[in-house]
């Protein structure tokens, strides 16, 4: 089961902590909330191709011929700090299989909750609303949100799609440990809706219910956060590994999260074969 120890995660975090952080200024002093916490409120968004593929990748055609260049894959240098992703040999074979069936296996296609850390670098804004005891992180995608329980050491009461997050401050850094993930849909769900594992990106990089994530967010300027996530899942990887990227503040006037109830846009796809065409 979950054989990797917390020490191994801690070691990985330490490794990253000693590495230069993306764009991080060591001199920036974070703004504070009224109660004196580092202030991470606001609308944040990744500006990279991590949602296509966490690893370095060349440009390639998109998965749907008809969408042409509009949905083709832009190139990216990758966000994995200590790559390549250390897949176990059997898991790497499965990854290739899942990637080949991404249109069926990827939760994003079905508008399922994206999980962690994926929610943080999808091409949708994330709004953070911060109080002393709770930090909410809300994505525009599928109205997904995460509840960060500050100061909590609780174990997950149940497995969930977004996991159970305990947060704490380490200096100016917000450190979040998340576990208790669903590894896929329940086994009884109809095949049209079923997914077997959870994708981390559109390229088929995946995790199971063995996932444990340690994230580190820190203000590195008025409009930037540094974001790192160390990802552990002994069912899939031989060691913890880490992604790192900046998150940018959305400065749009009157910025707010839109309502993107994407289930409406995929229901004909998911339920199609059981539907009846009207007037037939």
């Amino acid at each position: 089961m979950r054989t990797a120890t917390f020490a191994s995660i801690a070691a990985a975090v330490l490794f990253v902590a000693l590495s230069p952080r993306v764009g991080e200024s060591q001199t920036y002093t974070s703004l504070r909330t009224a109660s004196g916490q580092p202030d991470v409120n606001g609308f944040w968004q990744a500006l990279n191709t991590a949602h296509w593929n966490l690893e370095a990748h060349m440009a390639s055609p998109g998965p749907v011929l008809q969408l042409g260049a509009a949905h083709a894959v832009p190139p990216g240098q990758g966000v994995v700090v200590d790559g390549p992703i250390p897949y176990r040999p059997d898991a790497l074979a499965k990854k290739k299989e899942y990637a080949a069936n991404a249109l069926r296996e990827d939760a994003e296609i079905k508008c399922y909750l994206p999980g962690v850390p994926r929610m943080m670098y999808m091409p949708y804004p994330v709004q953070i609303v911060q109080s002393d005891s709770t930090i909410l992180m809300m994505s525009e995608f599928a109205s997904a949100h995460r509840t960060i329980h500050m100061g909590s050491k609780d174990s997950p009461p149940a497995d969930t799609w977004m996991g159970w997050s305990n947060g704490r401050w380490e200096g100016d850094a917000l450190v979040i440990e998340t576990r208790g993930f669903m590894g896929g849909t329940i086994s009884a769900l109809d095949r049209e809706g079923a997914i077997q594992v959870r994708f981390l990106d559109r390229a088929g990089n995946y995790h199971t219910d063995g996932l444990r994530v340690v994230e580190r967010l820190r203000r590195i300027g008025p409009d930037h956060l540094s974001y790192q996530a160390t990802i552990e899942d002994p069912n899939v990887y031989t060691r913890p590994w880490t992604i790192s990227m900046p998150l940018y503040r959305r400065l749009d006037a009157n910025m707010q999260l839109g309502e993107f109830k994407c289930e409406e846009f995929v229901s004909d796809l998911v339920y199609g074969k059981y539907q009846r065409t009207p007037d037939k």
């Binding site: 609303v129 109080s131 109205s143 949100h145 509840t147 849909t185 769900l189 809706g193 309502e259 059981y274």
Partner: protein
């Protein structure tokens, strides 16, 4: 208005699926003293930003009917004793639903989740008869057309859109404005200086309300939850919401209503939530609802609706099977004349999958 609410002691644990029934809490409520708010001396706690503090976990689950029963048309209030008796009767009369789940097994019935007696005989408090006001002639015509179109589609679900009456994962139609779900009608409120967020257990909705005085968004952008703007009036949070989606039907209004809500914390364990809806193209007058929100223990867990929507598949697959004559019609199943229920069929299907036989591909 708060004089009419009871202040119970804090409800016993509320995590759905872990709480057991504590029926004695009903008796306990009868012995509790009236709310401190009844003498107007309650001092509303403040956030570090100095705003009234609404944070924490709350429920508005209740046994009080939304509209007033006709028999109580001229009786907006029970006496305290009548309210307790009505509450006890509602608890003992309530029959658990058998489709999907037995709610009490999950600690999810109102009495298990923190519902308390209410001296109101209905949640709808204005018009004075406690009923939704009559539709305008134009709205009546619109509703008749809609219902005729619905009837013409027949009783069997044709597409996923027809499954909205049971579990509709796109949006929880009872969330904004709240008309109280049968379970899971729980809130987690988090505040920063410029935002107040109400996450809602059923369907894991989040409602994000700006407090920074910004104008409403463009009228072209209409949403299920509407475009909410909040401001403080003394200790009361006032939220004005417009731009509701035309895909909604709220008591005859197809997203053209406006909503004004007031949230006032009247005790450590009580928020009084009132709202008024108005739509001159639908109702002959505005109407107002008062919902007590009671503090409950957290945390609140995820309600992954779309991800677990077996109901969506079952409804459509069984409709096709009923059309093909391979499954008994619903009325026969409901009468008990037909043995094969939807649940049994689904369980057989699930057993096949779990048994490694693969999915039944029969049309």
């Amino acid at each position: 208005m708060n004089a009419f609410l009871f202040a119970g002691r804090q409800a016993a644990g509320v995590i759905v699926a872990t709480t057991s029934v504590v029926l004695t809490s009903v008796i306990g409520i009868a012995q509790d003293r009236p709310s401190p708010a009844t003498n107007g001396s309650y001092k509303v706690p403040r956030t570090p930003d100095g705003q009234p503090d609404f944070q924490g976990y709350w429920t508005n689950l209740t046994y009080t009917p939304f509209e007033r029963p006709r028999a109580l048309a001229n009786k907006p209030f029970y006496t305290e004793q009548e309210a307790i008796e009505a509450f006890k009767k509602a608890v003992s009369d309530s029959t658990d639903q058998i489709v999907h789940y037995v709610n009490s097994d999950f600690g999810a019935t109102p009495v298990q989740t923190g519902a308390r007696p209410n001296r109101r005989t209905s949640l709808l408090i204005d018009p004075p008869d406690g009923r939704v006001p009559p539709l305008t002639p134009a709205a009546e015509k619109r509703e008749a057309t809609r219902l005729a179109a619905q009837k013409a589609r027949g009783p069997l679900a044709q597409t996923w859109k027809d499954d909205r009456g049971t579990v509709w994962c796109v949006f929880h139609d009872r969330a904004v404005p709240s008309i109280v779900a049968p379970y899971g009608s729980n809130y987690h409120i988090v505040q920063s200086r410029d935002w107040i967020v109400m996450t809602y257990e059923w369907n894991t909705e989040h409602r994000i309300i700006p407090l920074d005085g910004r104008p409403h968004g463009p009228a072209a952008v209409r949403t299920y939850a509407g475009d909410a703007r909040g401001h403080w009036e003394g200790d009361t949070l006032v939220v004005e919401t417009t731009n509701f989606s035309p895909n909604r039907n709220f008591f005859g209004s197809e997203g053209t209503f406006t909503l004004v809500e007031r949230f006032t914390r009247t005790a450590d364990d009580t928020i009084v939530h009132t709202y008024t809806v108005e739509d001159a193209s639908t109702w002959t007058r505005p109407w107002t609802v008062e919902l007590p929100m009671h503090r409950i223990n957290g945390p609140m867990l995820e309600y992954a609706c779309n991800e677990n929507n077996q109901d969506g598949f079952a409804t459509l697959k069984n409709a096709r099977a009923q059309e093909a004559g391979t499954l008994a019609p619903m009325d026969a199943i409901k009468r008990g004349d037909a043995k094969a229920t939807i649940t049994e069929r689904e369980e057989q299907g699930a057993a096949k999958v779990l048994g490694g036989e693969g999915q039944d591909e029969k049309k």
